[in-house]
């Protein structure tokens, strides 16, 4: 598949779970392709979100976001997220790290909810309209029911994959495996496609199984500007440029033209090219 093939499988209004965490291993090339294709009214589900959510909010592609976190870590707050939260117009719902995982896991286990104490005595329970307090059927404790999250699509980026859709993740899998299992259709970009024989050598680092994936795209630097350990680090310089561009309408327009409304090859060129990325970001 190509990035555009994946995007053609995604419709306006779809619920999309996005893998990675924070500034790590976000499927940014897929995310940019989605924005570039003009998909609208997307309903995002992220655990520890960041650049991917902010970019899609900035391009006006988003109708709703379920999230535990959206930010740029030490680099600061997420500008489009912050603006949209303060201005209104997008349906935000605050969850937490485990409850996003539990909501996905409920779908995987084919149950309507999973129980937890998480959220009790916090205001998350007051602003989250999906959670529900209930009594343990054995008559004891009061608990929180986390409803199943049922994504239409999951987008993840991994280190290596075979053409059949088995994926190798060399670092923390974050919520990628949960996203892949819970979504109706999971699309996976990867740094490199390898043979099934080579893939098997990665043992338990083969974290994504092909029965859970609908398509694979080879996209080197597909997580950029987030990092993809151990291939390359997050590109703080690019993120800094991104954050600055969000300050003024014309700067944001220029950023979009240069980095979003251009295909992945041109995206890399517009960074200064792969050689520069290698020099700055490769371990």
């Amino acid at each position: 598949m190509t990035l555009d093939d994946v995007v053609s499988e995604i419709r306006n209004g779809d619920t999309i779970a996005i893998g990675g965490s924070s500034l790590s291993r976000k499927p940014m090339a897929l995310v940019r392709a989605l924005a570039r294709a003009g998909r609208k009214d997307l309903r995002l589900v992220v655990d520890v979100g960041g650049p991917e959510v902010d970019l899609l909010l900035g391009t006006g592609s988003v109708a709703a976001v379920r999230y535990a976190f959206v930010g740029f870590e030490v680099m600061g707050l997420a500008p489009h997220f912050r603006r949209a939260r303060q201005k209104g117009g997008v349906d935000f719902e605050e969850w937490t790290e485990y409850t996003i995982m539990a909501g996905l896991d409920a779908t995987i286990k084919r149950v309507p909810f999973l129980p937890t104490h998480t959220g009790l005595a916090t205001d998350v329970l007051n602003v989250n309209r999906s959670f529900k307090r209930f009594n343990d059927p054995f008559g004891g404790e009061e608990l929180v029911a986390i409803p199943a999250i049922r994504p239409d699509v999951a987008l993840i980026h991994v280190n290596y994959a075979d053409v059949q859709g088995n994926g190798v993740i060399l670092g923390d899998g974050h919520v990628d495996v949960l996203c892949a299992k819970a979504a109706k259709n999971t699309y996976m970009s990867c740094e490199r496609i390898i043979s099934p024989e080579e893939l098997q050598r990665y043992g338990r680092d083969v974290q994504v199984l092909r029965v859970h994936t609908a398509g694979v795209v080879e996209v080197p630097w597909g997580a950029h500007p987030t990092g993809c350990a151990p291939e390359y680090r997050a590109d703080l310089r690019h993120m800094q440029d991104y954050l600055i561009s969000c300050g003024k309408v014309e700067d944001w327009q220029a950023y979009q033209d240069r980095f979003i409304y251009s295909d992945h090859a041109r995206y890399l060129e517009n960074q200064g090219g792969v050689e520069d990325l290698v020099a700055r970001l490769k371990v």
Binding site: L23, G71, T96, A121, G171, G227, A229, A234, L236, L243
Partner: protein, 284 residues
């Protein structure tokens, strides 16, 4: 403070934080202060802790101060790879500790990293509760730190409870699981043993007065009969911190905004060069 001593306030705080760890638990090193306190604790105060790298979740690593961007450094150490599921299982089974740096903390130890103002129409949208609700409903020790104790961060009531403090709701819904244990600030160490689970002074850092604490807090902090002085770092503590953080990443954690980001970009590049230099000795 200020302290008339050869060590800096960050070294003092990191040492104080390091001294709180005990037992055999996973320790998250998600911030520079978290990483350095975990490293110091591992070397001097709590040798049984198992330190995690971030964001790639290696366990049994030597934590490095990396402004939450440790993936690069972690690659040099293999560690034992964990998953999010492992980490949350460690939280639920109370085998996890983390120093959390909230935007606001209040008199009952409720903490906020979500927003300033009303959630539905925030004055400032921050980041979202992340895993703090999990921590504050399951762990037997909850550690907070703030680098600048002032009435904007130490408030009477938080605008949003991302983390569950003390009070009726906790008593009814959660009991003591996840109750706030300590706050370390640049003024002192505080616990939540005051009336109704309110913030109380456990110790003040050298030179800090009760009056200063009250002035810089958004409410009246409970003052117990005995207010000891927080013990100072030892020579060894300071040397360990300095050698672990030659780029002084710890100095910048309190910065924010565009200039801060610019500095992070710079230190990030120097960090990479440093790693390349030390790679051979770390690589297995």
């Amino acid at each position: 403070m200020p302290l008339e001593t050869p060590y800096s306030v960050d070294e003092f705080l990191i040492t104080t934080m390091a001294r709180q760890f005990s037992g055999e638990v996973l320790v998250s090193s998600v911030t520079a202060f978290g990483a350095l306190s975990a490293r110091l604790a591992k070397m001097r105060y709590a040798p049984d802790i198992a330190v995690l790298s971030t964001p790639e979740s290696g366990m049994e690593v030597l934590p490095m101060p990396t402004l939450t961007l440790g993936q690069f450094l972690t690659d040099a150490q293999s560690g034992i790879p964990l998953s999010m599921e492992e980490i949350f299982d460690a939280i639920f089974t109370d085998h996890f500790r983390i120093w959390i740096n909230p935007s606001q903390i209040d008199q009952f130890g409720n903490t906020n990293i979500t927003c300033i103002g009303d959630w539905h129409q925030p004055k400032v949208a921050l980041v979202g509760s992340r895993g703090i609700p999990e921590d504050t409903s399951h762990l037997s020790e909850i550690f907070y730190y703030i680098l600048r104790h002032d009435p904007r961060s130490v408030v009477e009531h938080v605008d949003f409870r991302s983390g569950a403090g003390n009070g009726e709701e906790r008593d009814h819904d959660l009991g003591r699981h996840g109750a706030p244990t300590l706050l370390v600030s640049d003024l002192g160490v505080f616990d939540f043993t005051g009336p109704g689970g309110r913030m109380s002074i456990r110790s003040l850092h050298p030179g800090v007065t009760v009056e200063e604490v009250q002035e810089k807090s958004g409410f009246e902090v409970y003052v117990p009969e005995d207010v000891p002085i927080t013990p100072e770092p030892t020579e060894d503590d300071i040397l360990i911190i300095r050698s672990a953080d030659p780029l002084e990443v710890r100095k910048w954690e309190s910065l924010s905004g565009p200039e801060a980001a610019e500095r992070f970009v710079q230190v990030y590049e120097r960090e990479r060069q440093l790693l390349h230099a030390t790679w051979p000795q770390l690589k297995r």
